[in-house]
């Protein structure tokens, strides 16, 4: 196995911290990795279910050899995207709650109008 290579960063530099406490960046990285592990696990369960549906029995080799066809991949994409949306809802919610500048103008002029009437 002397030929086994290692692909490692050679010049990545210092990792930027976006939050005042770098531990928050680390936690974010951990959460994102965990989200990925869970998704991988979900795909594996999905593979097992599909194999069982089809054959009623399975082996590890069957699981390893399974590759989703486009239909399966499309279904998984929908499921993964729903999962991501649920997981990061709290961040997306902030976006939804933002009142854009134009909306604010609209609101103010509506208030002015109402005050006059």
């Amino acid at each position: 196995m002397s030929d086994k290579i290692k692909i490692t960063p050679v010049n990545r530099g210092k990792r930027p911290a976006f939050f005042d406490d770098p531990a928050i960046d680390q936690l974010m990285a951990i959460v994102m990795s965990m989200s990925a592990e869970m998704s991988v696990l979900y795909d594996r369960v999905d593979t097992i279910e599909r194999l069982l549906d089809k054959k009623g029995t399975l082996s590890r080799d069957d699981i390893e050899a399974f590759r989703p066809d486009q239909g399966t991949e499309d279904e998984r994409n929908v499921r993964r995207n729903d999962y991501i949306a649920r997981l990061f809802r709290i961040i997306h919610e902030e976006r939804e709650s933002l009142v854009s500048h134009d909306k604010m103008d609209e609101y103010n002029s509506l208030m002015d109008e109402l005050a006059k009437s």
């Binding site: 290579i5 930027p16 486009q70």
Partner: protein, 396 residues
């Protein structure tokens, strides 16, 4: 993510590696579009008004915007997610490539045995500082790391990495920019039939390979400083049955004779070089170009032509995604650089083309047949995919 077009240098993945790469690409699209899509509202809705209140005027340039945005919690969260996701792309691919060795290198060697094209390696090519100084877009080992004889590992990493990064939106061959350019040129300049074509900084040849299809009578050449990506590009092209001539060569000092090519192009090469290198490359492109030939470089939109928020968004990668030379490019006036290199001002041209995979073909065709496109207005980024190019015809 739609499947990548299969070729003989593609690396096998386990069931779980495939699932991981698929997820990372879904996650990236979510962060980019769903979270990143909120950045402009954050800016307009609270960051800009707060800046105006504090300083007395609106942010005057991208640096003002960056300082203000990077203090905003929403932008920090988005940034932190973007950074982690970029690292996850490479991490999701590396184990499969490590495992594929040394069989992968051997496959590349075998594919090169009865070639339709050719490969010329030059061990005297020194890796320029702008390549060795940084793992560009955080790719471990960057383009040039070589791990033993006949190594192609960085080519394999880049090929799959770009595919996962783009979530397959670059088409099954990952060639959307090159294919859009080739088709655009073919429609716009029907009398222009290049016999010899050169791509400068080709990596694994994604964007030059479509020229073999679009101009089937041409000879297609491509250069890169890195031997591993050239070997990979050669094996990949051979596996697809596309004749391409790959050379390990520095675009700043090409060994081609004067006036050898009808078309000299590059795709997103400039923004990974220095200002000096860019000027050297332009001069060399002019030298190797035949009279009447066309030089065109496809690149990122230029921040000088954008409002400060869009410029901040484009240049984010420069600061946080190991793209240290982004700004050298996005702030360069290419027209002036071309004129300095000897091109006539009246021969300067710009291209803005819809993405050939994203746009309906009649829209694509109309953009290529209409009045000369100018890369001057981009609209809000992310509304539609357009590619921009800066070119010049050589007199004669």
């Amino acid at each position: 993510m739609a499947p990548q077009a299969h070729h003989d240098l593609m690396v096998d993945t386990t069931h779980d590696e495939h699932a991981l790469q698929s997820y990372v690409s879904n996650l990236r699209m979510y962060i980019l579009n769903e979270i990143g899509g909120g950045l402009s509202s954050v800016y307009e809705g609270r960051v800009k008004p707060a800046f105006e209140k504090r300083v007395g005027h609106a942010p005057k340039d991208e640096h003002d915007v960056r300082h203000a945005m990077m203090a905003d919690p929403y932008c920090r969260t988005w940034s932190s997610m973007m950074r982690s996701c970029q690292e996850m792309i490479w991490d999701s691919i590396i184990p499969s490539i490590e495992r594929a060795q040394p069989d992968l290198n051997m496959r590349a060697t075998q594919l090169a045995e009865q070639p339709k094209g050719s490969m010329t390696l030059d061990p005297n090519v020194k890796i320029p500082r702008y390549v060795s100084a940084s793992d560009i877009h955080l790719m471990p080992g960057n383009y040039h790391s070589e791990r033993g004889a006949n190594d192609v590992s960085q080519g394999a990493l880049y090929d799959r990495g770009v595919y996962v990064y783009a979530a397959g939106n670059g088409g099954p061959y990952g060639d959307s920019i090159g294919r859009s350019l080739a088709q655009h040129l073919k429609i716009r300049f029907p009398d222009f039939q290049p016999e010899k074509i050169l791509d400068v900084g080709c990596t694994v040849g994604h964007n030059v390979m479509p020229f073999v299809d679009v101009y089937p009578d041409s000879n297609v050449h491509a250069i890169d400083v890195s031997a591993p990506v050239i070997r990979y590009a050669h094996g990949r092209a051979e596996s697809f049955g596309k004749p391409m001539h790959l050379h390990q060569m520095n675009g700043e000092r090409m060994t081609f004779e004067d006036e050898s090519f009808d078309l000299v192009m590059s795709v997103v090469t400039f923004h990974e070089t220095s200002r000096t290198a860019m000027r050297n490359i332009i001069a060399e492109c002019r030298r190797v170009l035949k009279p009447g030939g066309l030089m065109i470089h496809m690149e990122l939109p230029r921040t000088a032509e954008m409002d400060p928020f869009d410029a901040f968004y484009i240049d984010w990668d420069s600061y946080y995604n190991n793209e240290p030379f982004y700004q050298a490019f996005t702030s360069t006036d290419l027209k002036a650089a071309y004129v300095d290199a000897g091109f006539k001002e009246e021969h300067y041209m710009e291209v803005m083309t819809p993405d050939i995979y994203a746009a309906p073909f009649d829209t694509f065709e109309a953009a290529a047949s209409g009045p000369e496109t100018k890369a001057e207005r981009y609209g809000r980024l992310g509304e539609s995919i357009h590619w921009t190019g800066w070119g010049a015809w050589k007199e004669g």
